[in-house]
Assembly symmetry: D2
Homo-oligomer: 402 residues x 4
């Protein structure tokens, strides 16, 4: 029998971390003693626990501690990280440590250093000279990179569940459709105001099809959006709407299918191709309104990622998905709140890139999409099963005085 | 080989009736000759076709003509209806004719008479003295009633698909979530105004849970609702909301779960039971606002049907479901437009009672509910997959100037 | 400032009870000291905590303790229950205690007595002579009943989360569609075998429409079902299938719409009405197979509850919903495992009547139905979003050797 | 007032084409005379109609005829196609004709020539020397290509609705969940046998997550799959399953979350990267079973398209989406039946590339996905809302004797 002491800090009771730690140890047939246990009694107090974890042998104990580390457990006497060098671009050494989406630290040369760019499913590359570490995707790994192996010296810091009454707390347990909607949107409006400077919108084409693109454009014009992410489709239909008044050939004002309307989205793409880019189309006066128009006018950075189902695509669309990921990743730095509007593909893609500290709000008429995003498990995620058009209309009226 | 001539009248081309008739004859291995075929060339013209239908023998021909009658086909030389008398309450003679939900006529003593109270899955009872006929549910059949047997002498008149551009036409083909929503609600508002005097609302409790009951109450107060149908739940939670500000214990303004809130709906029921009835609760001043309050203040007739999942129930709830059906049936006379709000059970129940000439609009966040109601196949049915709370907020703002 | 000591016992850590208690106290602006805290370290150990709960005054303290009692917290020095007499049938005294769905005890004449028939949203009636107490629905309350008022002397015992590895544990956190299905069904088969004698099936008509009624009938014939609950529809279509080979007019073998098929369900009802009852139809040899046939042959008790959307209904259907509830309640005594098959209405109704100790498994193709049932929050509930027909086919093959 | 005669041929009555033509003319405020109308009276007969279409002026008449051409209407006296040359790669001339997904012909130098590679949303490139024409995507257009402008000389041939009784006919009207499932799968098995040599499977990762990958692998091994299409995820999790027994870290046999399982999919990618390719992993003996293994062993051509949400990706994944489209397009030549398994993204992508003559079957637990694919409107599309795991288990047992 061997044992090591681990520590847990923070809101470990009401974030349900401690019970999960106890359960995990028991499920793995380990044992434990509570060495120290200070419970925070006020909303702002943190708790602090020290447990002696007992395993049958070193291997067993390692396994247990490995599983506990995702809850933020860390050894009282931390060990140095182990490092191995990459032999070939985009190929990692065996047993590389793969990251969670939580902020993390690693114990290197006797001190804890912060792991930069926290993102899920990455390797951690250590820069020995600069004594720093950062998350890097497998596709961006280069020969010679120093990679952390195993979990020795890794400390994960799951964000606490916020104790102030807020909209995220309300919805934390489930995705439901029978909730007071106006209350929720009012609070989302408040969150958006508070996150000013770090508001990212990820949008699918349904925003245009349902007639909500004017509302979204107005939000951009009024400075409520700092980064815009999407695919080819949302931009194509937005431009179709701006040039022809239709989306997929359907007139947004009258819901009529327009004569020859099924060609409109191709004609929209072709117009932009003729002039060279969306940006040029705005500058030349061809494009006079819409989501993309406002992004360019306000110099809001945007990224449009290609997908296998694209027509065209538009010139600005990045057809290589790994390049598109890197571009989105860059734009997501500084994100404080991400609004995901009716797109499963791009929402999951963006969700995967975000650290668990960023608030995300997912709006979709399809409960499956909302559930999938909520499953990813941040306590900072709010899912709303509702029509994106009504949502944006009501949100706009709450943010912008008419 | 035997044959008989059948006629088809009306918008049989663009209501897709003629193609279906041709197909049905071929599927049943019959043959046909087109005797006459006048196509309406303008939007308001009717078409008229006479077909000679050919079967292998009388039985085969009868089978074919039976299947065609639901499309409105009727024999050029009509036969008298066959009648048989009921021997025992609630038990019908064999081979009784079971009705469609379309308006129908029967050929009795050499003339066509209208079948009253058109409703699906009924028997037709003929009153020989008064020379009239009406649809009656099996549960209301009495010993001595004269029942139509077989389909001889039955003519069904499926309502034409409207040729004017309208909201029902737009959505006729499918239930989609990616449609211009504001356009649709604007047109629903118009339909409601046109149907004044015949507007029925069928509502589930989600209207209250999502915070939309104030909007619905305001629509009632302003005269936009003529009949209100629902179950125990919508009334209980409406009264809970009026008395305690909560729905299922959740504060509608703040989305907080209230202390002791899980008892509120039972306490609401008990308060009404103490005073004797919802009506008395309004008259005595206990109940001061809400859906039920407005119904009683405006003397809007309502029916609350019991269901197996009810708590309480409230005194006005009809716990015998057959009695409740009859009550709803009575209130549905004169219905022109039925708005079904977030209730599968009551929407299907009401849908079953309605003739195909009544327009129905179904609002639900759950696409399955909307699809099920649309499947029932009236061309006068519009399904909208959206949040009932946003829908009512926007509808109200379109109908009532602030 | 006032305080009282409360106790918590059982698997309060890994059932997440303790963290919720701490959080609740803090949310209500109370304070606490941990007086005693023994943590169970093995899977079978129970924990035991004593907390001193501190409120601003007696009222505040009462409010806090009220909210804590649903987690199983009870005062170290219990008080006697308060009792008041009912003045009028079906009307309760103010502030009556409304029950949870957990097993409970009440402190009467200085000792804890078990509350019988645990069920949610009931009042507790105390029999002073026999010194017992039981849950009674508001609709069954009689003048003279002695009712518990407030929460003094109430102790709730939430069932522990099972610590053995089992199918319920696996699915406890969410309703997902991307799980290894065969594994789950294999374990459900095992649970059914273990629950022999207490297996209840609640079924909707989709079981017949999708062609799964033969499989269900075979399960009944082989003794795997002890009680059958449903509505008119499942019985009507089962009998339609037995008599005509169709369900809603669609041939189950060939998926063809049968000639005159839309009348079959009415004809099925009428045949049973003619002969007087389903039972008589089996005994006379009219009904030769199917779900209802097997129930009657094996003398499986069943209850069919009427609903507002019923045709007919069949003679055995109980059209008064309060009476139907009482009948179902009676049949649910002794239930160990409830299988809910494709029916939202009856599943929720039955779910409401069950104490939290009974295992329930809900099968539905519609995720909304499954989510709604899971929301009710027993830790003994398993939801599976899948096709009921495949489910029953695979389940049958696992339970019955071919 | 001007007029031209148009012809319609084929099963224009029961394919509902004629009524739609009449309606369209009337909606566009045109008029018409029926010049000739021969109705096919037997299942195998074609109908033939000639209509004189009347417009207010040449422009109006052009507009009407434009809209009619998608129904297969063509002018009795065809005009030559108009052609314009491309000035710049990937930029089309104004008013280029954009294709439907139906087979088409164009009238060039006085004779009808078939348009090759029918696909939706393409331009038609005419090769003047070889006197042929083909559909080309905007992204593959080259400077110098001769493009058809307007609709003169275009004839579209919508495929007839099959008149033989078959599984596609059965489901043509809607996506329903309450259908006899075994009957449907039996008929899908028959269709797969008949389509031998042209069976394409498009699959998402849920096939692996739900434990169905062994069944799919067995279908491939037994020669029932001719082309395999998907994304990175299905291949990654298939390989994770083959190497570690898990999918997303969940053990497929026991449904347990494995220790360190969240890294398995990254480790699977890394193993393949180390060895260089999936093919090499099979050849070297590293990969011993699964979907990808069988594809490589049987030399089934496959394409894996990258997407913005990919981890890795695997070496064979094509990260440029336009290149991936072209690769899939190539593999889809010769497709007779496409089975779409639990993937919205790839199913829509593939659906967009297919001509309307190819049968498609879409299996998904999510009704929204099925509805979206059915909306694309081929009469050869069958949608089944069911669990992909049960579906494959039952399908396999019908195709392969145990």
């Amino acid at each position: 029998m061997v044992s090591r002491n681990i520590e847990l800090k923070g809101h470990i009771i009401d974030s349900l971390i401690l019970p999960r730690v106890f359960e995990k140890i028991m499920n793995l047939n380990g044992e434990f003693n509570v060495v120290k246990f200070d419970i925070g009694k006020h909303k702002t107090d943190e708790s602090h626990a020290v447990l002696e974890v007992i395993g049958k042998n070193e291997n067993h104990l390692d396994d247990i501690i490995h599983e506990l580390h995702v809850f933020g457990a860390f050894e009282v006497k931390p060990r140095e990280i182990k490092i191995e060098q990459v032999q070939k671009d985009r190929v990692l050494p065996d047993f590389f440590y793969s990251t969670t989406h939580h902020p993390s630290q690693c114990f290197y040369e006797n001190s804890w250093i912060e792991v930069q760019n926290p993102e899920m499913d990455c390797a951690i590359v250590v820069n020995k000279e600069e004594k720093n570490a950062k998350c890097v995707k497998i596709s961006n790994i280069k020969k010679g990179d120093n990679i952390i192996i195993g979990i020795d010296g890794i400390r994960v810091i799951p964000p606490p569940r916020s104790r102030k009454k807020e909209v995220f707390e309300f919805m934390s347990s489930d995705v439901s459709t029978e909730k007071p909607l106006h209350y929720l949107i009012k609070n989302i409006a408040k969150e958006i105001k508070e996150a000013k400077g770090g508001v990212v919108v990820v949008s699918g084409p349904a925003v245009v099809h349902t007639g909500a693109s004017d509302d979204l454009a107005e939000l951009i014009r009024n400075g409520y959006v700092d980064v815009f992410l999407g695919g080819n489709a949302v931009a194509v239909h937005d431009i179709e709407h701006s040039l022809f008044g239709t989306s997929l050939g359907v007139d947004i004002e009258t819901a009529e299918v327009k004569k020859g309307g099924h060609s409109h989205h191709l004609y929209a793409i072709n117009e932009i191709r003729k002039i060279g880019s969306i940006k040029e189309a705005v500058n030349s006066g061809l494009l006079k309104k819409g989501i993309m128009y406002e992004c360019i006018k306000k110099a809001i950075p945007f990224a449009l990622a290609g997908s296998i189902r694209d027509d065209g695509p538009l010139p600005e669309v990045i057809t290589d998905v790994m390049e598109a990921q890197n571009q989105m990743r860059k734009l997501l730095k500084g994100a404080k709140l991400v609004l995901m509007l009716s797109t499963m593909l791009h929402s999951i893609a963006v969700g995967n890139m975000l650290p668990s500290t960023v608030k995300t709000i997912c709006i979709d008429i399809n409960p499956t999409t909302v559930t999938k995003l909520m499953d990813r498990g941040s306590q900072q995620t709010l899912g709303l099963v509702t029509d994106v058009s009504s949502f944006l209309t009501i949100l706009k009226s709450m943010l912008i005085a008419n």
